[in-house]
């Protein structure tokens, strides 16, 4: 089933669009995370992802890492927030099982905005004197061309193969409503392909609704959509449902061990 050029498909089919080795951009825990699609990616056994957290991640990154889907994680942080460290992320890094590109939040936003603008790089303040500059060999110290001696960092563009997120709703033309979660707009603009799961498809035209259009991503940037009610669970979807704190606490406890994590995956359909 397709409309307006944007196919609507199953979560499995959507997840199958994520090729092994793809660079996949995902939002932070509070911003419309596609958890149903994440479980489908794990079931499919995707491998060697370059996971780009925009700008940090939680259970999504931890599960993908624990399930062996990730080769490189590029992020400002991975954590379960109030529930403590992300256990599979932490273990994978302490074991050297995955590579990390340690970053800082605005550097990830800047790299995506460079791609959004078709620019090869973006300048950024801060950073100089941080060991991130030492370990990120792709970041360079440069000079403000308008003030001699004013040192400033330049960061290369980040161009994800895929932006993946979950949204409250789409319309029948494939336009996506994201409200104030505008990092999703930048992700969609910057990425080669954008995959979106939604709570529902509504029979409206987001582009002709002045109240909603400003909080929408036009279908122009959307590659495929899947219907996934409660698709952010066990995370919340702001304004729609709360995070399932008990479930998240259960995950945090289970994932402390390899066996507990595997049991969790087996039990929760991933």
């Amino acid at each position: 089933m397709a409309f307006g050029g944007v196919p609507v498909e199953t979560v499995e089919a959507l997840a199958a669009r994520v090729s092994d080795g793809a660079m996949v951009a995902v939002p932070p825990d509070y911003s419309f995370v596609a958890m149903a699609a994440t479980r489908a990616m794990i079931r499919r056994g995707v491998r060697d992802l370059h996971l780009l957290a925009v700008p940090q991640s939680g259970i999504q990154a931890d599960m993908l890492i624990g399930a062996g889907c990730v080769a490189i994680v590029e992020t400002a942080a991975v954590s379960l927030g109030e529930l403590g460290a992300a256990p599979r992320f932490t273990a994978a890094l302490e074991n050297g099982a995955i590579a990390i590109r340690d970053s800082t939040c605005p550097a990830i936003h800047a790299g995506l905005q460079a791609s959004e603008k078709g620019l090869p790089f973006m300048p950024l303040r801060g950073l100089i004197g941080s060991d991130l500059m030492r370990v990120r060999e792709d970041w360079k110290e440069s000079e403000n061309p308008f003030e001699q001696g004013d040192r400033i960092t330049v960061l290369p563009a980040l161009k994800p193969d895929i932006a993946l997120f979950h949204a409250p709703f789409a319309d029948r033309s494939g336009n996506i409503w994201i409200g104030r979660r505008r990092e999703l707009v930048t992700m969609a603009h910057a990425a080669r392909a954008t995959l979106v799961t939604v709570e529902e498809i509504r029979d409206i035209d987001l582009m002709r609704d002045e109240a909603l259009a400003g909080g929408s991503i036009p279908a122009l940037y959307v590659t495929a959509i899947a219907n996934a009610p409660k698709g952010a669970w066990p995370l919340g979807l702001a304004g729609h449902y709360e995070a399932d704190q008990a479930h998240l606490a259960g995950y945090a406890a289970a994932a402390r061990s390899r066996q507990g994590f595997d049991d969790y995956l087996a039990e929760h359909g991933a």
């Binding site: 939002p27 932070p28 825990d29 509070y30 911003s31 925009v54 700008p55 940090q56 992020t75 400002a76 942080a77 991975v78 954590s79 927030g81 109030e82 529930l83 460290a85 992300a86 992320f89 932490t90 890094l93 302490e94 050297g96 590579a99 990390i100 340690d102 970053s103 800082t104 939040c105 605005p106 550097a107 936003h109 905005q113 950024l124 303040r125 801060g126 950073l127 100089i128 004197g129 941080s130 060991d131 991130l132 370990v135 001696g149 004013d150 040192r151 400033i152 104030r180 979660r181 505008r182 990092e183 999703l184 707009v185 930048t186 702001a238 304004g239 704190q245």
Partner: protein, 245 residues
């Protein structure tokens, strides 16, 4: 617990809130329940003259331009105070949010640098908050500098460290000297107990005052509106800690 009694969390909330008095806009990042509660307490006392932006909150966050807005906003000079933690913090106020050991072969991995490598440079009053006050955390030199406490002349840096708040004491940071100075010690601690548990050198006045406890009015605010407010983002914190009163 009577109004005169208070938990350590309540003391820390009150201590941090005092550092925010008179400011216009305080932002609070991820995983920061006590700073978040402190900012909301300061706002309650300032009768709306203080704006508070709590990341991850829908109700206490007026950003509408996505996750990048806090960084742009800071660069515009519109954020007066922010908070950073650190798995390690050293005497030059360098913070390590990345891990212990020789990068990348870490013995212990922390979550990551978050926005520290940027906001520490741009927000005028960055308050370091790390409850654990031990030689394990407060070290002579961090293993990894997520964000440096001081910068060389010529580096654009309108912001930087203002104070360090722990479960035992408050240090102020002297930017000219690039060193901490012991500002007050919490009830039950002594100058000697601070020295014993601090791994870095710091300045100290001849006599160090005790950190003043929260007033009954402050405690009532924390246990009332502030607790209700913070529960949206930190439900466990709100439930387990604030309702102890």
């Amino acid at each position: 617990m009577s109004a005169a009694e208070h938990s350590k969390s309540e003391l820390l909330i009150a201590v941090i809130a005092r550092m925010l008095d008179g400011l216009g806009h305080v932002a609070v990042g991820a995983s920061s329940p006590i700073p978040g509660a402190a900012a909301l307490l300061a706002r309650a006392r300032a009768k709306k003259h203080l704006r508070v932006s709590v990341l991850g909150s829908l109700r206490h966050n007026d950003f509408t331009d996505g996750a990048r807005e806090i960084f742009d906003c800071a660069a515009q000079g519109r954020i007066d105070a922010f908070f950073l933690g650190g798995g390690q913090i050293d005497g030059a106020a360098n913070v390590n949010l990345v891990g212990l050991g020789e990068y990348p072969d870490l013995n212990k991995r922390f979550p990551g640098s978050y926005g520290s490598a940027y906001l520490y440079f741009l927000v005028p009053r960055v308050i370091l908050f790390r409850p654990e006050h031990s030689r394990r955390v407060l070290v002579p030199k961090v293993d990894f500098i997520s964000a440096p406490g001081v910068s060389a002349p010529g580096i654009y840096r309108p912001g930087g460290p203002y104070a360090l708040v722990t479960e035992r004491s408050v240090f102020s940071f002297e930017r000219e000297q690039g060193r901490f100075r012991l500002h007050s010690i919490h009830a039950g601690e002594t100058a000697a107990s601070i020295a014993e548990n601090t791994g870095f050198d710091y300045d100290s006045p001849a006599s160090v005052p005790e950190t003043p406890p929260p007033s009954a009015e402050t405690l009532a605010l924390i246990r009332g509106d502030v607790g209700a407010d913070i529960a949206e983002v930190y439900p466990r914190f709100a439930r387990e800690i604030l309702t102890a009163g």
